[in-house]
């Protein structure tokens, strides 16, 4: 990186030297010496003319290389820090938007070196060079030029920064409001139109749009100062050099030939500081981006990695026991789970039903050790799950949840996530059992079809079947179904349930649902209400007791009895 800055400085030094040497040739030629006297300078001019281009080329190459290395390192650093935090510590950050912002923030930081760090270093090196060069003639010259350089490189950016502070804030605020109004109008357009609010929404956008425009105009008047003052200061420096050098030349302290050389060298040196106001702006952006990233990275994981008692051993059975488990997401929030106890023997099936927000999904999150619980304990195979390495623990549990995430890659890769080293036959078999094989082979590229945001959009039922195929490949002894059929229409739901039946065969099943269908085959049903267990029993028992379960069940089956 130092190399890149050095090359950047050499580029500007070359153009200073080019103009200085050119001035020297002309000035010397005006005195009509022999052509031999000019030879060195002529060679110099040609050399610097070429050198500038070459140095610029090398500088770009080196700085981009540095940039890309930085980018790779930043991503790895951030991912490494983020990985232990997911999903518990990221839950309160909202969905895709935050993640998209993270990616944008990292892209901003990627330019930190080229746009923020390098320009001041280059400017400093050039200032140093000019200082030495001018001192050789007269210290006052050096001081005068350095002072004006400092004014242009530091004074002007600070001034415009100070002036633009308030406008910048007002602008960001207005821009945010405008973007929200546009978002409301576009994403909420059905509601806007249905309620006849087009004119009102349009007026809102128009008003904010004009406000933003007003602030941007004001901002331009401040930012315009950068270039204007820069140009003025170049003239000031030139005039100062001439004013100081003229008496020196007259007194014979410097040669007359030096006069044009000094003037042009001074003018050329300003190239190094004129980019600094921009660097200041990027600095602001980079700091904001860095601050946001550190806010996330500095969060503590829910539990620290440690040496686990049982690193390699597999338990002799997979009996799952919750004993008086109480859990809150935050210290001041009501308990998501309140003294929950149940036993699920290996090979048995347990359903947990209740309203959304009743804490059903929390159970799965605790079992997977995405969150840590404080009261009570959870055991698997007779051992506290905290004794297992979480990675191992998750090995024994397959999850099919409502929100199946499909990666932007082929269907094959998405299914193989279940078991990386599965053979083609095993994968196809899993897809067949999940009843998705025929659908996949019907696609133009079969298993190599791309899915996700940039590829094929799959329907809810198809996504769930891919999730089932993944779980089949994983072949874990414990199966957690978290609202696996929510949001599907009745016919699709029925088909997905059929595929799930295959998956449930021979496994220990923890099923979370608010759709009260197919629960007759469950060995036990727990009804969760606001974090508490309010009813438990088999389907038949719960129907007979005519409690909450019965009411919910009736609603779904009204008039069908």
């Amino acid at each position: 990186m130092a190399l890149a800055a050095l090359l950047g400085a050499l580029t500007i030094a070359s153009s200073i030297a080019l103009l200085a040497a050119s001035a020297y040739i002309i000035a010397r030629a005006a005195l009509r010496p022999s052509i031999a006297d000019l030879q060195v300078a002529i060679v110099g001019v040609r050399f610097f003319g070429i050198a500038r281009g070459v140095f610029r080329y090398l500088e770009r190459l080196v700085s981009h290389e540095a940039n890309f290395r930085l980018l790779a390192r930043l991503r790895v650093w951030f991912y490494t820090a983020l990985e232990p935090l997911a999903p518990a510590r990221l839950a309160h950050h909202r969905g895709g938007d935050l993640l998209a912002r993270i990616v944008a923030d990292i892209d901003t930081l990627e330019h930190f070196y080229v746009r923020v760090l390098a320009p001041p270093v280059v400017a400093l090196l050039i200032a140093l060079l000019m200082g030495v060069f001018l001192s050789a003639y007269d210290v006052r010259l050096a001081l005068a030029v350095l002072a004006v350089l400092a004014l242009a490189g530091i004074g002007v950016p600070l001034l415009t920064r100070y002036l633009s502070h308030e406008v910048g804030q007002a602008m960001a605020q207005t821009r945010g409001e405008l973007n929200t109004a546009l978002l409301d109008g576009i994403q909420g357009s059905a509601d806007v139109v249905a309620f006849g609010q087009q004119a009102a929404q349009l007026a809102r956008v128009r008003d904010l749009n004009r406000q933003l425009s007003h602030w941007q105009r004001r901002m331009a008047r401040i930012r315009g100062l950068d270039a204007a003052l820069g140009a003025l200061l170049v003239n000031l420096a030139t005039a100062l050099v001439l004013a100081l050098a003229a008496p020196l030349a007259r007194a014979g302290q410097i040669e007359g030939v030096d006069l044009p050389v000094l003037t042009l060298a001074t003018m050329a040196s300003f190239e190094s500081v004129l980019g600094l106001p921009m660097a200041f702006q990027y600095l602001g952006n980079s700091l904001a981006a860095g601050r946001r990233l550190f806010e996330i990275v500095d969060e503590k994981p829910v539990f620290a990695a440690q040496d686990y008692l049982l690193t390699q051993s597999t338990p002799s059975n997979f009996d799952l026991v919750f004993e008086n488990v109480t859990f809150r997401y935050a210290a001041d929030s009501p308990p998501a789970l309140d003294s929950i106890s149940f036993t699920l023997r290996q090979g048995r099936r347990l359903a947990i039903v209740g309203a959304s927000g009743a804490g059903k999904s929390t159970l799965v999150n605790l079992l997977l050790r995405f969150w840590d619980y404080e009261q009570g304990f959870i055991t698997l195979g007779g051992r506290d799950i905290r004794d297992y390495d979480p990675e191992h623990l998750r090995n024994w549990i397959a999850v099919v949840s409502q929100n199946t995430y499909l990666f932007n890659t082929t269907i094959r890769e998405n299914i193989l996530l279940g078991r990386q080293n599965a053979s083609e036959t095993e994968m196809v078999e899993a897809a067949q059992q999940a009843q998705i094989h025929d659908f996949i082979t019907g696609l133009p590229d079969g298993y190599n079809t791309w899915v996700g945001e940039q590829g094929l959009r799959l329907s809810g039922g198809e996504r769930q079947r891919i999730a089932i195929a993944r779980a089949l490949l994983k072949d874990a002894p414990v199966l957690a179904l978290d609202e696996a059929t929510a949001g599907l229409d009745a016919v699709t739901e029925r088909n997905v349930m059929a595929a799930l039946d295959r998956l449930m065969e021979g496994r220990t099943v923890l099923m979370i649902t608010h759709r009260l269908i197919g629960l007759q085959t469950m060995d036990e049903i727990l009804v969760l209400h606001e974090g508490k267990l309010t009813e438990r029993g088999t389907h038949a028992e719960l129907i007979r007791s005519e409690g909450l379960y019965f009411k919910m069940w009736s609603l779904q089956n009204e008039r069908l009895r």
Partner: protein, 574 residues
């Protein structure tokens, strides 16, 4: 291109920008003149400081004037950008609203939001930097040529001959580099997309113990990107090198050429120095244009997308011959209605009647066309065949806004605006008093949770405000419908996302809302339709069965199949 047409709106600002740029160029010439005169006086005529003080003062004066011109030029350029952008953004948003929900639906909405925000801002650099620079790159070098030619013919020719090399190389490079840049940008956005994908799927990766392995993959992908991109850049930068070389070597050629002629006494120093000072400035506007060319390309791409949207014709054309609205109690008839999304048919000659005061439920497999019927009644879309009549009047002859006032619509995903809870409910009736809003919230069962929000009815909700659960959002939508107090109620899968316990609570509100109104209930959840007066089963874009619940069960058709699929074995609980 269309953007040029739009530029007319900022013509004054554009003229001012270019005018000030030309003035700044003229002042640059004056500056070079003063400078060479002052140096000449001291260097060759032994003048004292006092002799050149007036020249130096003039130099500062010219510098100040030039600073003013540059400053004014930037302000004027921003003015140009602002007038075009403001106008374009308003037009774009108005047009998107006119295109309506049929156009903004689904995945497209995100992209449209980006176009209206970022896309318009991408024009900023294009308008502010690129457009004026095109004119300045032509005018400013011309001014300098005009001044240099009478002073030194040879240098004039050198400048004249080398100048076209820059645009020539620029176009040559621009074409090659444009493709390269696009490829690099694509590679970068792919890498970013991969990173985003991994972050979004992090929980899934953890479930399959694949999250740690990603560290290595991210490093590898980034590194690969670095290597391939650098190979591309090595070539791309080489072309930039050529461009840079033309400018610097030309300056060097001018310096040597005038130096040699000075030596032979053909030229005097003052003129020679004047030409030398101007030479780099002569190439500068051309090089700047080269640098800003990129912003130009990006802006043109963004503009293209904006004009694509602006040129899209709204699906619902303005009504030429508006009829007065019928009384609030009306018959709705859909006759032989055909509608297709692109080449995917939704309705296929559908016939349906909605009688005043009845509760009509639409059921059927998803994709059968139920939601399309609601969209047609709301006039988000127009039938492509057949017609819809209200008391015998064609729907498309009624005033759209007035007609929509007769409808209260509760959808599956009601949109919550970034406004207070009260404002969100007020949408149902903009003139509503606070008391009316609270009453509507009470009827919808929303009053309790709204009162529990940090600032009650004044709490900001929506994307940037307090997050409401699906059931709460649905209750806000119901409150809007209560406030609307319209004769026709359309419930489009209003409880689809809710669990039975929440549904139980909301169902009571819905029943209250339906009282005394005509209700069209669209559902794939059969539990919400049992109480309807009539059920129409829609399949393949047509009505296949109609009748009450028991009647349809007896028919042993599609409805029966749906019911059995829905209830599973539970039809017989014991």
């Amino acid at each position: 291109m269309h953007l040029e047409k739009r530029l007319r709106i900022g013509r004054g600002a554009l003229t001012l920008t270019i005018g000030l740029g030309v003035i700044a160029g003229l002042l640059l010439v004056a500056q070079a003149f003063l400078l060479s005169r002052a140096i000449n006086l001291v260097f060759l005529q032994g003048a004292a400081l006092a002799d050149i003080l007036s020249l130096l003062a003039a130099l500062l004066g010219v510098g100040a004037a030039r600073a003013l011109a540059l400053w004014g030029g930037e302000a004027a350029a921003q003015g140009l950008a602002e007038s075009v952008k403001t106008d374009l953004r308003e037009k774009l948003f108005a047009h998107i609203l006119a295109l309506g929900p049929a156009y903004t639906r689904g995945e497209r909405s995100g992209e449209l939001v980006n176009t209206a925000t970022g896309g318009i801002e991408a024009l900023d650099a294009y308008l502010r930097e690129y457009i004026p620079q095109v004119a300045l790159a032509a005018f400013v070098p011309l001014i300098m040529l005009v001044t240099v030619f009478p002073i030194d013919l040879v240098s004039g020719f050198v400048l004249l001959l080398t100048a076209p090399l820059i645009p020539f190389f620029m176009i040559l490079i621009g074409k090659a580099a444009g493709a390269l840049n696009r490829r690099q940008w694509l590679a970068l956005s792919r890498m970013s997309a991969h990173f985003l994908d991994v972050l979004q799927g992090l929980t899934t990766l953890k479930l399959f113990q694949r999250s740690r392995a990603q560290i290595e993959i991210i490093a590898r992908v980034s590194d690969q990107f670095r290597k391939t991109t650098l190979d591309v850049l090595r070539v791309a930068f080489l072309s930039a090198l050529v461009l840079e070389m033309v400018a610097t070597i030309s300056t060097a050629v001018v310096a040597v050429e005038i130096g040699l002629r000075l030596l032979h006494g053909v030229l005097d120093f003052e003129r020679a120095f004047f030409v030398l000072v101007l030479a780099p400035e002569f190439y500068l506007p051309l090089r700047t244009l080269g640098i800003r060319f990129h912003a130009g390309v990006a802006g043109a791409t963004a503009a293209q997308r904006i004009f694509d949207v602006l040129e899209t014709q709204p699906e619902v054309p303005p009504t030429p011959d508006v009829q007065p609205l019928p009384p609030p109690s009306f018959y709705i008839r859909l006759e032989d209605v055909v509608y297709a999304y692109g080449d995917r048919p939704a309705l296929n000659g559908l016939a349906l009647e909605i009688r005043p005061g009845e509760r009509l439920a639409l059921v059927g497999p998803s994709g059968g066309g139920k939601t399309t019927i609601g969209q047609l009644l709301l006039r988000f879309i127009e039938p492509q065949g057949g017609q819809i009549t209200i008391d015998g009047l064609p729907l498309n002859r009624l005033p759209a806004d007035g007609w929509r006032e007769r409808i209260a619509w509760v959808s599956q995903n009601p949109y919550l605006f970034n406004a207070s809870a009260a404002e969100n409910i007020r949408l149902g009736k903009p003139s509503a008093t606070m008391a009316e809003i609270v009453e509507a919230a009470r009827l919808a069962g929303a009053h309790e949770f709204i009162s529990a929000l940090p600032s009650g009815y004044d709490t900001l909700i929506g994307e940037r405000g307090a997050r409401l659960s699906g059931g709460q959002a649905q209750r806000i939508a119901l409150a809007r419908a209560f406030l609307r107090n319209a004769p026709l109620l359309i419930l489009d899968e209003a409880t689809a996302h809710l669990d039975p316990e929440t549904e139980l609570l909301i169902q009571a509100s819905i029943n209250r809302l339906m009282q005394g109104r005509t209700a069209l209930i669209i559902a794939h959840r059969l539990s919400t339709v049992y109480n309807a007066d009539r059920i129409a089963v829609i399949d393949g874009g047509r009505v296949v069965e109609t009748g009450a619940h028991e009647e349809l069960l007896r028919q042993n058709g599609v409805y029966r199949q749906l019911v059995t699929a829905y209830a599973g074995e539970q039809a017989k609980p014991f």
